[in-house]
């Protein structure tokens, strides 16, 4: 039964790399996990949409307080980190271990850079008196508070994912250096890469919703 439901090529993966490693299964497992992550964020996107529908004008005005420059730079940082992530996998598959390590290190560095920029951004906003429950927000209509509650919740949870991603990629980096992830057995790096790209995708949607309401 399970033999039939497996994709044709999955039966042959045993020939490559680790004798008992099911490459398809590992990737599919990662995708399944990513779908649950997507559901987690979708709930928040739905809430954001509903609030935005009920408080259109306030959301519009509140979004002017977010810093578009921070958002745009961070988008580019994250997109570039996705590029170096993909390049790292290609480099490893071509057998260039140290090039792969360099690309992966750049990915981690860009991820940390993203968090540093995020920190600067949040600091600026908190300094301006914008944080959940702040007196400044209470002086505005209710929609303002909701907008920034969603803003801190969603970018915060996303930032947490970036942090976890950096940790995960650091473990992968150590595995490559120690020779536990190799040209023949690179599926763990690929799975970690999938996670990193999902974080990028979530940011792609957060960016226009919080920074680009003109």
């Amino acid at each position: 039964m399970s033999e039939i439901s497996l994709p044709e090529s999955a039966k042959h993966t045993e020939h490559a790399g680790h004798p008992k490693k099911d490459v398809h299964g590992i990737k599919m497992g990662m995708w399944l996990f990513l779908m649950t992550e997507l559901l987690l964020f979708s709930g928040m996107f739905l809430l954001y949409s509903a609030y935005r529908y009920f408080y259109t004008k306030e959301f519009h005005e509140a979004a002017m307080y977010t810093h578009t420059l921070f958002g745009t730079v961070n988008t580019m940082v994250l997109l570039t980190s996705s590029l170096t992530m993909a390049l790292s996998i290609t480099a490893l598959e071509k057998g260039k271990k140290w090039l792969s390590v360099t690309f992966l290190s750049s990915t981690i560095a860009l991820g940390l850079g993203f968090l540093v920029i995020k920190y600067a951004e949040w600091s600026t906003e908190i300094h301006e008196g914008i944080y959940p429950g702040s007196p400044m927000l209470f002086r505005h209509p209710r929609g303002f508070e909701l907008f920034f509650a969603m803003y801190y919740l969603m970018t915060g949870l996303h930032g947490l994912h970036v942090l976890v991603g950096c940790g995960l990629l650091t473990v992968m980096l150590i595995f490559i250096v120690k020779g536990k992830i190799t040209q023949e057995d690179s599926v763990r790096l690929e799975a970690a890469g999938l996670y990193w790209h999902l974080i990028d995708i979530i940011w792609i949607f957060l960016f226009p919703l919080f920074y680009l309401v003109n």
């Binding site: 090529s9 993966t13 599919m28 997507l38 949409s49 570039t80 999938l194 995708i201 792609i204």
Partner: protein
């Protein structure tokens, strides 16, 4: 046959060039999003921004996340998940809209 499926699965590594090309496209789309937001298109601003976000994410899913080069089962899997998500969004939007 066995040899063929094996190479199909492992495949040749995706070239650096394709990734760089996709990255350039993503950067260009980000720039376009930022510029379009500056022009006042009223209600269309958000629609355009979200459409561009959809294009960007499909580039990431297909190329960076390798779905384009994977077996059919991955494509079906991603498509079903995307379909379910859009149903959830559509029904919730309908609920919010007609509740008012």
């Amino acid at each position: 046959m066995e040899q063929q499926t094996l190479t199909e699965h492992k495949g040749a590594p995706t070239s650096y060039g394709i990734y760089v090309l996709i990255w350039l496209a993503l950067m260009a789309l980000t720039a376009i999003t930022a510029v379009v937001a500056g022009i006042n298109l009223a209600a269309f601003t958000l629609v355009i921004a979200l459409l561009i976000a959809l294009v960007k994410s499909s580039l990431v899913v297909n190329v960076f996340m390798h779905v384009k080069y994977e077996d059919k089962i991955f494509k079906i899997f991603v498509a079903i998940a995307g379909g379910v998500l859009s149903v959830i969004f559509l029904l919730t939007f309908a609920d919010v809209y007609f509740r008012r």
